[in-house]
């Protein structure tokens, strides 16, 4: 096997993953040193803040009165910028190696459900609702639990990651497993 290449012009997932490990260590060190508190890579809390910022536009008093929004503090912070950074970094990487591609429906989805953008939109939207309710309940996603929690050897991360994949495998088998 080639440890440096992925076969589709990208890097080996082993190499890219190991570099993310180094980035996570650097990030834990940098946040402790410069911000005074160790922060670990994560993404799902930002969706709470993003939703809070949007609701605030129409009903600011509602956000101020909501226990969960108050608890998670609706504001642009370190993680919020990290999530925006993921967008920028991915754009830079894909634009410079010509893997940027405008895609309306992912190939595997199209194979099972056809080229309808509406169907994909509905699946992604409702899947997104269920996934985010779950991520907030579990207090983390594959970044917060899967990477950061596992690196710290957290019990919650091990159980959460197992649940993510175990249920994901079962549901994926139902949704995409049918014979063509």
């Amino acid at each position: 096997m080639d440890l440096k290449k992925s076969g589709d012009g990208g890097w080996s997932p082993y190499l890219a993953g190991a570099l993310v490990g180094l980035l996570a260590i650097f990030s834990a060190y940098a946040t402790t040193t410069w911000l005074g508190k160790t922060s670990y890579l994560g993404a799902s809390t930002t969706f709470v803040r993003g939703a809070g910022l949007m609701v605030q536009q129409v009903a600011p008093e509602h956000v101020q009165a909501n226990e969960y929004f108050v608890k998670e503090k609706v504001r642009v912070d370190w993680q919020f910028m990290l999530v925006l950074g993921i967008f920028v970094g991915s754009f830079i990487a894909s634009a410079t190696d010509k893997s940027f591609k405008l895609e309306a429906v992912p190939p595997v989805w199209e194979k099972h459900f056809g080229p309808s953008v509406g169907k994909r939109a509905a699946g992604a939207f409702f899947g997104g609702i269920v996934a985010m309710v779950g991520a907030r309940m579990a207090d983390g996603c594959p970044s917060g639990h899967g990477l950061s929690g596992m690196m710290q050897l957290s019990v919650s991360a091990l159980v959460a990651l197992t649940m993510f994949f175990a249920v994901g495998i079962i549901v994926a088998a139902f949704v995409y497993g049918r014979k063509q």
């Binding site: 080996s12 969960y68 950074g85 985010m132 779950g134 991520a135 019990v155 497993g177």
Partner: protein, 176 residues
């Protein structure tokens, strides 16, 4: 922008760059892993975890950084984890990768992002209900595997790494 915002942005750009280079942002890779056909995202995640756990153990052992375990709230982790897994399979992205997928032109990720923003707002509305039910079942607190097993983190790491390497060898042999 303050220091925290600049640091977050720079870290995020590097994270997004590596996620894209590892080709793990794609719907097909995420669903491929759940269909047990393409283990790219597991190779990526486990490589990051193995490297990261050594560095985190070194730095926290030296007192440079502090650990921040998320609580092992039984109902929250089991029910929340199951809901996430189910939604993830249909959506084909996780929160971090959805934003990255949009960055590499897969614009259908916008529907996933919209759904997740809606999901976050719904969770905020239902939080009092969850707090008195699922979240109230049993909370084992912020615990780490080493404390539970009564061993040093290095023992856990020394067991974890060979298991992961054996798994990698198996993936490569099977062409996953």
């Amino acid at each position: 922008m303050g220091t925290d915002e600049i640091l977050g942005l720079v870290t995020g750009i590097l994270f997004g760059f590596l996620l894209q280079k590892g080709r793990v942002l794609r719907f097909d890779k995420q669903v491929g892993a759940m269909l047990l056909k393409d283990m790219t995202i597991l190779k990526f995640m486990l490589s990051a975890i193995v490297v990261g756990m050594v560095g985190v153990a070194l730095l926290s052992g030296a007192g440079v950084i502090t650990l921040s375990h998320k609580p092992m709230n039984v109902g929250a982790i089991l029910v929340g984890g199951a809901l996430f897994g189910a939604g993830w399979a249909v959506m084909g992205f996780c929160p971090g990768t959805s934003v990255g997928a949009l960055g590499e032109g897969r614009w259908h990720a916008i529907f996933a992002i919209a759904g997740m923003l809606a999901g976050a707002a719904i969770y905020a509305e239902l939080y009092p209900v969850f707090k008195s039910t699922v979240l109230a079942w049993a909370d084992l607190g912020k615990i780490g595997l080493p404390e539970v097993l009564g061993v040093s983190p290095w023992v856990v790491i020394a067991v974890f790494i060979p298991v992961v390497l054996a798994l990698f060898r198996w993936f490569e042999r099977k062409g996953l």
